[in-house]
């Protein structure tokens, strides 16, 4: 049981625990917080995979922004719902079964795949500088598109969330 394996075990535990909790909690806020935990664990996983920048970005975006957003949405939509409603949508067993089937298939595929690289290539240390240069040179166009997309999403979300006009 090496250090790396230990870290992986921890990370996997956090991720999966958080995810399961997020999907299983009755309280929406708890689910959201669990999601945040899971995503933070994912960020740790990225770090353990030497993807520093991605990890920090993950924390910044998901824990800092998306989780908060979801919490707000929960508080805004949960105003007038009678408690004690059914937690799961009708026929959720089939849904769970389907999910299970999908996982089985995926696992089967993964285990059957032949890309077992015996030797792990030594950890690359991608400096932020390289990422930035790559972004500015080859992936400039996607970057611009992402910027445009974010702007549009910002405006669109603002408009969607505006109070509805009374008809007429």
């Amino acid at each position: 049981m090496t250090l790396a394996a230990l870290i992986f075990a921890l990370v996997a535990a956090v991720i999966l625990g958080g995810a399961v909790a997020a999907m299983a909690f009755r309280n929406l806020v708890h689910s959201a917080l669990a999601l945040a935990v899971s995503l933070a664990g994912l960020a740790a996983g990225y770090l353990s995979l030497h993807a520093q920048f991605v990890g920090f970005a993950q924390i910044l975006v998901y824990v800092g922004a998306v989780a908060i957003l979801i919490l707000f949405a929960i508080l805004l939509t949960r105003g007038d719902e009678p408690g004690g409603q059914a937690l799961f949508s009708p026929g959720f067993l089939t849904g769970a079964g389907i999910a299970l089937a999908v996982f089985a298939v995926l696992a089967r595929v993964i285990l059957a795949s032949r890309l077992v690289s015996a030797e792990i290539p030594l950890a690359p240390a991608p400096s932020v500088r390289e990422i930035g240069q790559r972004m500015m040179s080859e992936d400039a166009l996607p970057l611009e598109v992402i910027g445009l997309l974010l702007t549009v999403a910002l405006i669109g979300a603002a408009i969607l969330a505006l109070r509805e006009k009374p008809p007429g």
């Binding site: 975006v61 799961f88 290539p121």
Partner: protein, 103 residues
């Protein structure tokens, strides 16, 4: 020593959990959360393949994940705005009641 398989299995499990949530929970926000989980599973796959792939010095995987995160953020914002609008209109956030499009 964790190998590619471990990460792929982890991602697959995460994906399955997210899918299960998205398929079974009634609340639209939770469905959205499930979708986020699935997305992150995909991201994890990207990173894992980049890390254990033959050419780690090529940063495509990382950049892809970065862009994916940005897109996911936008998607979450718009999705939540939609949910809020729907809730304001139908006074419910339950997906099994949002069936105005039924034939």
């Amino acid at each position: 020593m964790p190998t590619l398989h471990c990460y792929l299995l982890l991602a697959a499990l995460l994906f399955a959990i997210g899918l299960a949530g998205a398929l079974t929970r009634r609340n639209a926000i939770l469905v959205l959360i499930g979708i986020e989980l699935m997305l992150n599973a995909a991201n994890l796959n990207f990173i894992a393949f980049w890390r254990f792939g033959p050419h780690p010095e090529v940063l495509t995987g990382v950049l892809f994940v970065i862009f994916a995160i940005a897109v996911a953020a936008a998607e979450a914002a718009v999705g939540l705005a939609l949910i809020i609008a729907i809730h304001r209109h139908y006074k419910t956030a339950h997906v099994d009641q949002m069936d105005a499009l039924r034939g």
